[in-house]
């Protein structure tokens, strides 16, 4: 029968259970023992309120009770009931948590981060107290305690509100700043409690919020790096940062990351992985910062070298080269490559950039990428060459040279062809672009000159500059120029500078000739006699010098021809300078003046009043503004006075005695002074651009004829045809620029690349 069998089985089970609980004791005494033991054990384990008076348990009795339960194999049952008890008492903990979190969340302005951290800290400590209060004790075996831990933590995490994470982060930050900043009265006691970290561990917070711990540390590192390193370029910071990490942050890191480490070695191995992560973060933060500051670092260049070394080291750890390039290009575009920047400043910045990036990246890939826009921009600037050349021949004492004085002078380097037999050949760096050229660490001048495709332009510009400087020399001391030229010869080679060599020779020859002429018949004139094909073109302004000036010229020319019978002199009368002494009734004025001014004042010794027109008629083809400027110079010296009788005719009167014009002079000075500045100072030597524009006018005739006869032509066709013209040496780009200029003037138009004449 089923019921019979069932009954039997139940009886057997019952008997079995009874036997287990009774443990073969007499009657039911075993059972009695068991129930007593159960009561003791359950009471021992029962979770109590913290406030309740602790019960005094007899350890021996409790242990006995547990032994009994163990023998009855009733521990799992006990555990279940314990868990059930815990659940019943959970509200006690929940209340506490709610209380603290409410305190934490109260929005008060006065509460500072440290206060918030304090609340959370106290909460954590309290929870730890709960934990200890309820903990069943380790002697009960692993099963119970681990079940307890799981249950306790589950409960805690279930009741902690979401705001707890934020508070916990603040608490962690407070503990970290305790280590890095030292003990300050602001840090509440709960944060300094040594039990805090073990509590985290007990409550499982350390594991649960591991990412939070890391982010606290990251943020702290970031703040510290920004605080200490921003704008501090003149000392290496990376070493200091690492020291700071080792001294201050690592002791803190031991708490979360090297828990349970028993020996220092063990701790070290545990810290290894996480330590390198944080070190990476230090590098990355510093790298970001320096990248952002890069433009100013470049400005500060020689002083900011330590920071560049830092950046170099950081870049080796953190792969942020492309960010650096982008940031720097953007900064350059925004702050450097705009019309407001002086070409000289751009060049200085470029040179500093070269030096800086050479430190960071010796192969020059970064430099190539960053410098490319600058070079292209410089190529479009009209005065770049002049600036470079001026800095090449700059006087040693002025000190704002682009080139280091102690940098060895080397010949210009041209692009090198790969040497396939070079055993030390290295491939191009991995991030090099397709058009990257390995330029060996070359000197700055070579780099600057290589902005342009040919160095002829430089030589021409050098010639102009040298001419200006040589003509300005009056004391016969050309040593500086000679020295400059020798240096430049090393750079550019002997042949291109042959012209300059002749110019210097002209100077010394003139000196010798002058000595000879002076010996024959002494003259106030000391001319510089030049070989005209070897000098830049001069502005053509043939003025005729009047009176004694002309006589002086003539007599000198005569002496010259006697000395050199087959040569004669052609005066460039508008160039040079004359020292005059003007004796007037009541005063004597001496001045160094240009020849035009001298000519005018010489004419005033013929009569007292001249109109500008008459003066110009006597002197020759002089533009009216130039003539006015010369006259105003004398007005400023108080020698002439401007008279205007209402008509357009401007007359100038010689002031024999200063007193007659005493009251008018200051006023006059003021107006004429301002007017004099209006007239622009014109350089006597034509610049390369002016020369080129002049030459291009010739070719315009060719182009005009071409377009007239053949109709529309593309640019390269025009170029090919112009090549037939003698002496044409322009590139297509230059021609394009010229044609564009012609279009702006309305001479030609262009459609689909075909140029046509406007009719």
């Amino acid at each position: 029968m089923a019921s019979e069998a069932l009954r039997n089985q139940v009886a057997a089970k019952w008997q079995d259970s009874f036997n287990r609980l009774n443990r073969g004791s007499q009657g039911i005494s075993g059972l009695m023992d068991f129930s007593k033991a159960w009561a003791v054990a359950a009471d021992f384990l029962r979770p109590r309120d913290l406030g309740a008076p602790p019960k005094d348990f007899n350890t021996h009795e409790v242990r006995g009770a547990f032994d009994v339960l163990m023998q009855c194999r009733m521990l799992p049952m006990l555990l279940e009931s314990f868990v059930e008890d815990m659940r019943r008492n959970q509200h006690l903990i929940t209340n506490d948590v709610m209380r603290f979190m409410a305190e934490y969340e109260v929005p008060t302005d006065s509460k500072k981060a440290s206060g918030e951290a304090d609340v959370i800290g106290r909460l954590v400590l309290l929870l730890a107290d709960w934990y200890f209060a309820w903990a069943p004790g380790g002697e009960l075996g692993h099963t119970i305690s681990s079940a307890y831990i799981v249950n306790f933590q589950t409960h805690i995490f279930s009741v902690l509100p979401s705001t707890f994470a934020g508070g916990f982060k603040k608490l962690l930050a407070a503990t970290l700043s305790l280590f890095t900043r030292g003990t300050t009265p602001e840090i509440p006691a709960s944060v300094q409690d040594p039990k805090l970290w073990p509590s985290f561990e007990l409550l499982g917070l350390a594991d649960r919020y591991e990412s939070l711990i890391a982010s606290v540390c990251y943020e702290h590192i970031e703040v510290h790096v920004l605080e200490t390193c921003t704008g501090k370029w003149d000392e290496p910071m990376l070493g200091q940062l690492r020291e700071w990490m080792a001294d201050k942050v690592v002791p803190w890191m031991l708490l979360p990351y090297a828990r349970g480490a028993k020996t220092p070695e063990e701790a070290r191995t545990m810290l290894q992985g996480v330590g390198s992560r944080f070190d990476f973060h230090v590098c990355k933060t510093l790298c970001d910062l320096r990248t952002k500051e890069m433009f100013d670092i470049v400005i500060d260049y020689p002083d900011s070298i330590p920071s560049l070394h830092d950046l170099k080291e950081c870049l080796q750890r953190v792969d942020q080269r492309s960010q650096l390039v982008q940031t720097l290009r953007k900064a350059n575009k925004k702050r450097l490559l705009h019309p407001g920047a002086d070409t000289k400043d751009i060049l200085t910045q470029y040179v500093s950039l070269i030096r800086c990036l050479r430190i960071i990246d010796p192969p020059g890939v970064l430099l190539f990428k960053v410098a490319d826009p600058i070079r292209r921009y410089l190529r479009d600037r009209p005065d770049t060459i002049r600036c470079i050349v001026a800095s090449l021949v700059v006087d040693g004492e002025s000190g704002d040279s682009l080139v280091d004085q102690d940098e060895p002078i080397q010949p210009l380097q041209t692009a090198q062809v790969d040497d396939y037999t070079d055993p030390n050949w290295e491939p191009e760096p991995i991030d090099a672009g397709p058009d990257f050229r390995v330029n060996k660490p070359s000197d700055v001048v070579s780099t600057l000159v290589s902005i342009y495709d040919s160095k002829d332009l430089f030589v021409k510009e050098l010639q102009v500059l040298l001419a200006q400087r040589l003509l300005a020399v009056t004391d016969g001391n050309y040593e500086k120029e000679r020295r400059n030229l020798e240096i430049l010869k090393i750079r550019f080679g002997e042949a291109p500078l042959q012209v300059c060599e002749v110019m210097l020779k002209d100077m010394t020859d003139s000196k010798r000739i002058d000595q000879h002429v002076q010996f024959q018949s002494s003259s106030v004139m000391h001319p510089t006699i030049i070989s005209r094909h070897f000098w830049p073109q001069f502005q053509a302004a043939k003025i005729l010098l009047p009176g004694q000036l002309h006589e002086i010229q003539e007599s000198y020319a005569r002496e010259f021809t006697t000395f050199k019978p087959d040569k004669k002199l052609r005066w460039l009368s508008h160039l040079g300078s004359i020292r005059l002494e003007i004796q007037l009734q009541d005063r004597t004025i001496s001045a160094d003046v240009p020849p035009l001014e001298a000519a005018f004042i010489e004419l005033f010794s013929e009569k007292d009043v001249w109109t500008v027109g008459d003066l110009v008629a006597r002197v020759g083809p002089v533009e009216r503004p130039a003539a006015l400027k010369a006259l105003l110079a004398w007005v400023n010296r108080g020698v002439l006075r401007e008279e205007s009788d209402g008509a357009d005719v401007q007359r100038f009167r010689l002031l024999e005695s200063a007193s007659t014009d005493a009251e008018a002079a200051p006023v006059r000075m003021a107006t004429t002074g301002s007017r004099a500045t209006l007239v622009e100072e014109q350089p006597t030597v034509l610049t390369v651009q002016q020369q080129q524009a002049g030459q291009m006018e010739v070719y315009w005739k060719f182009i005009e004829g071409m377009l007239m006869n053949l109709g529309g032509l593309p640019l390269d066709r025009i170029q090919t045809m112009l090549k037939f013209a003698p002496g044409y040496d322009r590139t297509v780009d230059q021609l394009g620029g010229f044609m564009d200029a012609a279009r702006r003037e309305g001479l030609v138009n262009v459609k689909d690349g075909i140029w046509r004449l406007n009719r």
Binding site: L471, T474, Q498, E501, V502, K505, D509, V524, M525, H526, P527, T528, I529, I530, S531, R532, H533, F534, G547, Q548, L549, I552, Q553, Y556, A557, T561, K564, P565, D566, K567, K568, L569, R570, W571, L572, S573, L575, G576, S577, I578, R579, L580, E581, I582, Q583, L584, Q585, S590, P595, A598, I601, E602, F604, S605, D608, L654, E656
Partner: protein, 131 residues
């Protein structure tokens, strides 16, 4: 007589007057410009005998190398006394180096390259004409 007297008187008066005037005007012309020192710029030029006072002279080039006389022949680097000109009796002028090289070749037959007359170097022809 008296008339002459008066005339002389008048002329005397006028003379004095004029001389006074002259003195006065002379006085007002006391302004004097004295050149103390003059740093001038000049270009030297070969005196080839051609007068080109008015305007810019058409650039004279050596008939052999087509380089201006004031430049230097292709083998020289420095113009002037280091690369002088040579004058021929036939009135043609060349860079001396150019001409000597030409004369040195067999094909020249010692002739002036311009007019095929026998080359005879003129003795300072231009300088002589000047002095």
């Amino acid at each position: 007589m008296s008339r002459t007297q008066t005339q002389t008187n008048a002329s005397c008066v006028y003379g004095v007057w004029y001389s006074l005037l002259f003195c006065f005007s002379n006085n007002s012309r006391s302004m004097k410009v004295i050149v103390k020192q003059w740093h001038a710029i000049a270009q030297w030029q070969w005196d080839t005998g051609k007068t080109d006072e008015n305007g810019d002279p058409e650039e004279d080039v050596c008939g052999i190398c087509r380089v201006p006389f004031e430049g230097c022949c292709p083998t020289c680097k420095v113009p002037g006394d280091d690369c002088p000109l040579i004058w021929g009796e036939c009135s043609h002028v060349f860079h001396m180096h150019c001409l000597l090289k030409w004369i040195g070749t067999a094909a020249s037959k010692q002739q002036c390259p311009m007019d095929r007359r026998l080359w005879v170097t003129a003795e300072r022809k231009v300088a002589a004409s000047h002095s």
